[in-house]
Symmetry: C2
Subunit: 206 residues, 2 copies
């Protein structure tokens, strides 16, 4: 056997092992239910990952719901790229928190009012069996700033339709939420272009 | 001052501080250039995050390019949700590696052939100034299985148009690529529904 053939064989064995692992994991996982996915951490990619998953879901013909709890904070009037796309997607119901919570507002009672206005609409999505996946973008900040109590969120999640999926994004997901969730990804920022003085740009950061 | 007002003031100070931090960081970052973003790690969300960013870019009217180096590995014939959506997006050029590298093939020379066929097309995207953002989905495996040499990738990235962004996804990004990149997010899997025996489902996992 020449060395190329040996290499080929090694590669084949490696791939077969990998395939066996994947197949076994698939066979073991037989509970059918919707999942709660938490995308947290300081790294870039939390919201865009959620949007990508909604895209995936819609690609299968499913209805999805998205509630954005924080307005883009890259400057007033900036057109946020994904929103232009969402408007073209008939399978998506998209809501944004009214007055637009941002770092700019600095007014807790106004924020609470805006939250109290949007929350019943968000909860309604969690009661709608026709919605395959609900995404609450940047919801963790609502917990951190105590606009929303964990117990209220938990109750809403627990009483949702069994097959519905929920994606929750934002930094600093509290441990109660992490414990409750089925899938948690902690996006660690190893480095960010911003730190090297590279300007944030439309189409990447917003 | 009653306790609610005190709380409000505290909140306002916290928000103002946060806003000042964000503003200062924005002011410091004045280099205008495209960035190389690496989304790696074992957590769920790497590819979907890249797709979400492409969506964002297209929402600003930009052209994007996507090359997928691994075919979905959730079973033959599975309709992969995002692909159905991509086909409806006139701003996206979408290519897939020919024979479809998966854990199923187990044939290195066939994989190399398929890679050698797609790579010139991928490189052509890196030479096309009209493409705002290029995504190479699961490219890290091509490096890991030595179908692609780091030096070749590096050269292609270095000679691309100055304002072009590149997103590279996949587990186990090598350190040379991490060092080269402008932004690196390491997506740590804290837990995954799969491990708790929950079946993977269309619209979430593929």
């Amino acid at each position: 056997m020449n060395s190329e053939n040996k290499n080929d064989q090694k590669h084949q064995e490696k791939m077969a092992k990998q395939k066996a692992k994947v197949d076994a994991a698939i066979a073991r996982a037989d509970k059918e239910q919707g999942v709660v996915i938490v995308l947290t951490g300081t790294g870039k990619g939390k919201s865009s990952s959620g949007f990508g998953t909604l895209l995936r879901s819609m690609g299968h013909g499913n209805k999805v719901g998205l509630v954005q709890f924080i307005k883009g904070n890259w400057g007033d009037g900036a057109v946020v790229g994904e929103r232009a796309m969402f408007q073209e997607m008939p399978l998506m119901t998209h809501k944004m928190m009214g007055s637009g919570f941002t770092w700019e507002t600095q007014d807790k009672s106004k924020d609470q009012e805006a939250f109290d206005h949007i929350w019943p609409q968000a909860k309604a999505m969690l009661q709608d069996e026709s919605i395959h996946t609900v995404m609450f973008d940047e919801l963790t900040y609502m917990l951190a700033y105590k606009l929303l109590a964990w117990e209220d969120l938990k109750e809403a999640l627990e009483s949702r339709p069994k097959m519905q999926n929920v994606i929750i994004t934002g930094r600093g997901a509290p441990s109660a939420l992490r414990d409750f969730a089925d899938t948690v990804t902690d996006m660690k920022s190893e480095k960010h272009a911003f730190q090297a003085g590279i300007k944030a740009q439309a189409g990447i950061e917003w």
